[in-house]
């Protein structure tokens, strides 16, 4: 078996983990999230933090070397995301790197890649995927249209829950060039500048202090060079990119799961009632032990899925679905168990645990919840 497919961190991954862990200990905390919440900046994240991540090389971690990146895999990015996720750090790594750059690396023209990817690696340019239109994630439900017009296209429609869309410099807009909403075929991807005439955006502040954006596109004119990949075959790009996004987001969620679990177990060892530590009660012991099992299963599926995606394993799509479903369920469950075991203090704003539950809900619903991914899994397995 090759080292890459083994479900143990490689030496390089361990090094990335240690570096990120030190960085997070230094720079990220739930307190910094509280500050961000109070500031309510349109960007939705700390730009200084992003520059520091660029200096570490993480903003180009999965981008090919020829464009200034480190050309590592999702397995390495996953290690970074997991550590950041432990302290609920908000960064546009998933939106810019996995979703945005992911589309360009896969199907972008040489001009696109040369113009955009080096700036992404430097931390100077942010991307966002404008895909979703319905309240619940459903990537083929696209009514936004792109109409051929002379040498270019005119795009009309609206998008919602565009992750990091408030700060993005370029959007990858999923639009329909043929067919009806709900159909897999007929989708096309366009690279659209955030300042393009006819495009307006409205930041949406979410419960977990993350910022998304709603976009309105009315008569947005782009030239034919804005098209990414083949006309009408956008789903061929979108599907694998969304798998990578689901798995990367799962890695970030795993960090949240681990921190929620560890801080709650510690609370059970510290808190006293009836003159004893509450962790001595079997009613809580068994709950904590069951939770432990779910955590272990989550660790394994994240490792397995990221490696499968990196090696283009044929099983990667169904693993991605299983991974996002599992982490959606386990992170929600972790937030619920964490709060319940903390008791009264758990429902106060002063205690950090509530921030984890809020992040769990947002992450759960972003890019498909467990119900969506079970359905996708069943379809992939032909039942």
């Amino acid at each position: 078996m090759s080292e890459a497919s083994s479900l143990v961190l490689t030496e390089e991954q361990q090094l990335i983990q240690e570096t990120t862990r030190d960085f997070v200990a230094d720079q990220c905390s739930v307190d910094s999230l509280r500050q961000l919440r109070e500031k309510r900046e349109d960007a939705g994240f700390d730009r200084a933090l992003w520059k520091q991540l660029a200096e570490l090389g993480w903003t180009g971690i999965i981008i090919p070397e020829e464009y200034g990146g480190a050309e590592l895999g999702l397995a390495e990015l996953g290690v970074v995301l997991e550590e950041l996720g432990r302290k609920l750090a908000i960064t546009p790594l998933i939106s810019t790197l996995v979703a945005g750059a992911g589309c360009l690396v896969r199907a972008g023209s040489d001009e696109h890649k040369a113009a955009i990817l080096p700036a992404v690696c430097e931390g100077d340019l942010l991307l966002a995927l404008a895909c979703q239109e319905t309240a619940r994630h459903d990537p083929y439900s696209v009514s936004t249209t792109a109409r051929k017009d002379g040498d270019g296209f005119v795009i009309d429609g609206a998008k919602t829950l565009v992750l990091d869309g408030a700060a993005a410099d370029r959007f990858i807009v999923v639009a329909r060039t043929s067919g009806d909403s709900g159909e897999r075929s007929g989708l096309s991807l366009f690279l659209v500048d955030a300042n393009e005439t006819g495009l307006s955006r409205k930041p949406t502040f979410l419960i977990d202090s993350r910022t998304c954006a709603d976009l309105t596109l009315s008569g947005v004119r782009v030239d034919s060079g804005a098209l990414i990949g083949a006309l009408g075959a956008g789903a061929d790009i979108l599907d694998p990119v969304l798998d990578s996004v689901a798995a990367s987001l799962s890695a970030e969620m795993l960090g949240g799961v681990l921190d929620t679990f560890e801080r709650t177990v510690q609370f059970l060892k510290d808190r006293e009632q009836f003159g004893v530590k509450i962790g001595s009660f079997q009613g809580l012991k068994h709950r904590a032990a069951r939770w432990f099992c779910e955590v272990e299963l989550s660790k394994s599926i994240v490792l397995k899925t990221l490696r499968a995606l990196d090696s283009n394993d044929v099983q990667a799509p169904e693993l991605s679905a299983a991974c996002k479903a599992r982490l959606s369920d386990t992170f929600r469950y972790s937030g619920e168990e964490g709060i319940q075991m903390h008791g009264g203090i758990g429902v106060t704003d002063e205690e950090d645990i509530g921030f984890y539950m809020k992040r769990a809900r947002v992450s759960e619903l972003l890019f498909g919840d467990a119900s969506f991914h079970r359905d996708r899994f069943a379809s992939l397995q032909s039942f």
């Binding site: 001595s280 904590a288 032990a289 099992c293 660790k299």
Partner: protein, 396 residues
């Protein structure tokens, strides 16, 4: 070519040459070779396959050659396993002596005890059963009462065991007995081996909710055992008993109970037949959703087993994840057989006789028998206690 690569290619050639074609197909439950004095084989090939493995030391590849093993390193054993898996070779033998008793004999037995008991296990000549639970000592195993009193060079055993799997077809028993009643319960237990043909041993099988079962009640009436069959110190048996339980949990974690289907039809096949949906999405959306969940949980479980093995290979662990295997696999197996049984509907309600085919009857029996899996080998609740205490470090 590294030494390990050479070993791999030699092993592959040996397996290709020596493993009969019939032993390279997925085994049915009844194909298991248990060994022992009354050993039976499903066919001649199974016998040949066992004999060849015995000669090569491959029934116990990691043991020293003097005890009938092949003296392989951990890496070599892993190569052997992966080559056997690649060629779909069946395990030549499966029994509790090999998987539970032998590891503790290697750790705690004297040279004489190892020399006496290990080679017959490696050769599949003696089949062992486990004398642990008693009517009054289930989850509270250390509360066991089966009495053993020393009489010169012998130990006299009186008492009763229950849930002794395959006691009626086994040759020897590894048995926990109480040798001191004056001390705290954990400190008065000894680990004793004896022949089931000894005078005073009697066995009676226990019918379960699923019908006939491998479980037995086992009675000892003045059974005289040579004192040299005591493993470890007198009254020092609890440490050995606990270590053996770890090996048992390991065995139960890798069994076919939940991760791999024991029946020919997959759950999807069963659902398609029962719902009369030959293709396309299953028409019952709730069943479809439950099935996706089951398959996904299996994936997560097998990824966890894989991670644990990779860690062992990298010299890490065993990590805390191993303590969840028995708990999770037994529950997954129950969900699996419960789902299968619900989906077949009326076809799963027959007990015996005409009108129901073998597979349908088996579905019903497996659903019922599966209820034992979260009780035997330490109940789920005991597993949760172990995780809470040993892994999470929660206070008493």
């Amino acid at each position: 070519m590294s030494a390990l690569d050479t070993f791999r290619s030699e092993t592959r050639s040996w397996l290709e040459e020596n493993c009969p074609a019939a032993m390279r197909t997925p085994p049915e439950k009844t194909d298991t070779v248990w060994g022992g004095r009354r050993s039976t084989f499903p066919n001649e090939d199974a016998k040949i396959w066992l004999e060849r493995c015995v000669e090569k030391g491959f029934t116990a590849p990691e043991w020293p050659t003097e005890y009938g093993g092949a003296g392989l390193s951990r890496e070599e054993v892993r190569v052997l396993r992966s080559e056997m898996k690649a060629l779909r070779c069946r395990p030549p033998i499966f029994n509790y002596g090999l998987l539970m008793l032998a590891p503790v004999l290697l750790e705690y037995g004297t040279d004489e005890q190892k020399a006496e008991h290990l080679p017959p296990i490696a050769r599949g000549e003696i089949r062992w059963c486990q004398g642990y639970s008693e009517p009054g000592a289930g989850s509270d195993l250390a509360g066991l009462q089966c009495r053993a009193v020393r009489d010169g060079d012998e130990i006299v055993v009186n008492g009763q065991k229950i849930w002794t799997s395959d006691a009626d077809v086994s040759d020897w028993i590894f048995c926990l007995v109480r040798t001191n009643t004056e001390v705290p319960k954990h400190d008065g237990i000894s680990f004793l081996l004896f022949d089931m043909e000894s005078k005073g041993v009697s066995v009676s099988p226990i019918p379960l909710i699923s019908g006939a079962s491998p479980f037995c009640q086992t009675f000892f009436d003045d059974v005289r055992v040579p004192a040299r069959h005591l493993i470890g110190k007198e009254n020092g048996g609890w440490t050995i008993a606990k270590r053996l339980l770890q090996h048992e949990r390991e065995m139960l974690s890798e069994s076919t109970a939940g991760a791999r289907p024991t029946q020919k039809k997959t759950l999807v096949d069963v659902a398609r037949e029962s719902l009369e949906v030959p293709e396309g999405p299953l028409t019952d959306g709730v069943l479809r959703d439950e099935l996706a969940q089951l398959y996904m949980d299996r994936l997560c479980y097998s990824a966890t087993l894989e991670r644990s093995r990779d860690q062992a290979l990298a010299g890490i662990g065993p990590g805390p994840e191993t303590s969840m295997f028995k708990l999770y696999l037994s529950e997954l197996g129950q969900r699996n057989s419960d789902w299968r049984h619900r989906v077949v509907g009326a076809r799963g309600l027959g007990w015996d006789g005409d009108g129901f085919d073998d597979e349908e009857l088996q579905t019903t029996r497996e659903w019922l028998y599966g209820k034992a899996s979260t009780i035997l080998g330490g109940t789920s609740e005991i597993q949760l206690n172990i995780i809470a205490k040993r892994v999470l470090g929660l206070p008493d």
